[in-house]
Symmetry: C2
C-alpha cells in the first residue's frame, strides 16, 4: 500500500455514497495521473438505464476525455469494490498502470474472487493490484445500502407512501 | 445456426468495413430485438481516443438508449470477431439473450479462445453462443486491413506522402 492510497480511496468512497443517495448500489471510483484526479465516477446503471453505467466505466470515460487518449498507462484507478469482468476488461484495454480496490466481490469479482485477470500473462497487459484498502468502510457502505433496501421492502406500502386519502 | 444469422452478420460485416475505411481495426456489431436492429457499432477507439470504443460497446450503448433499459434480455448480438473480456463482460452485464460471432480471436477472445465466460455457472447470467458465422469473411476483412497497414509501413515515407517540394 502506498501512502496516498487512503486519500484516494476516501474520494472513491465519497463517490460511492453519491450513488447510494441516488438509490444505486454504492460503488465509486477515481483515476489519478501524476497526483491529479483525472476521472471519477459512481454507479449510475439505474439512472441511465445503461448496463455500462458502472463507476469504473464512468471514470475511464472521463479520464480518456481529459487526457485525450485511449491509453491511460500513466493512470492508477481506485475502486471501492473489486471490479467485475467488464470493468477489469476495460482497465486492461486502457493499459492502466495500477489498480487499488476496497472490498472483495465474491460473486462477480474478476481480479481475485472468480478470476485473476490482471495477472494473466496471455493478455497484452498486466498490472499490479493492491486490494483491501478501506475494505471495511467499502463493505459497510454496501451492507448499509442493502439492509436499508430490505427494510423498505418489509414495510407495508401504506407506511412508505401515504395513500392519496391519508396524505390529504 | 439460425436462418437469419447470415443476414445479421452481413450487416455486422458492413459495420466492420466502415471501421476499416476510417483506419480502425475492422470489427462490427449489430443488436437485434424482435427482428429489428436496435443497435449497431464499429470499432472507433482511435477516432474517439476512448478505450471503450469497441463495436460491441457502441452497439450496447445504442440498444439500451433505444429500448430505455439496461436489461437487454430480448436482444441478440452479432459481432464479426470473438469479443474480448471487456465486451463479453458488457454482454453479460446486459443479460443479453444470445451471442453470434464470426472468427476467433486467439490472443484476446473471452468466449472460446482464452476464456469461456458465457458458460460460467458462477456468474448471474449465461447465454448461448454460435460461433463461426461468416468467419472466413470476418477474418479476411481483418487480414486485408493488417496487410494494407504493413504495406504502408514498408513504403518509404516519400512514396506515401509527397513532400511539399514533390507535391508543388
Amino acid at each position: 500500500m502506498k501512502t496516498h492510497d487512503i486519500t484516494y480511496m476516501k474520494l472513491a468512497l465519497s463517490a460511492a455514497r453519491e450513488a447510494a443517495s441516488n438509490g444505486e448500489v454504492p460503488v465509486g471510483a477515481v483515476i489519478v495521473a501524476a497526483g491529479k484526479i483525472v476521472g471519477s465516477g459512481y454507479n449510475r446503471r439505474e439512472e441511465r438505464q445503461n448496463p455500462l453505467g458502472h463507476a469504473e466505466i464512468m471514470a475511464i470515460e472521463e479520464a480518456s476525455r481529459q487526457l485525450g487518449s485511449w491509453r491511460l498507462d500513466t493512470c492508477d484507478i481506485y475502486v471501492t469494490l473489486e471490479p467485475c469482468l467488464m470493468c477489469t476488461g476495460a482497465i486492461l484495454q486502457a493499459r492502466m498502470r495500477r489498480l487499488v480496490f476496497g472490498c472483495l466481490d465474491p460473486k462477480a469479482g474478476a481480479v481475485e474472487s472468480l478470476y485473476r485477470l490482471c495477472e494473466d500473462q496471455r493478455l497484452n497487459h498486466q498490472l499490479p493490484v493492491t486490494s483491501g484498502v478501506l475494505a471495511r468502510e467499502s463493505a459497510a457502505t454496501l451492507a448499509d445500502f442493502f439492509s436499508h433496501l430490505r427494510e423498505q421492502k418489509r414495510q407495508p406500502k401504506a407506511e412508505r407512501w401515504p395513500s392519496p386519502v391519508e396524505g390529504a
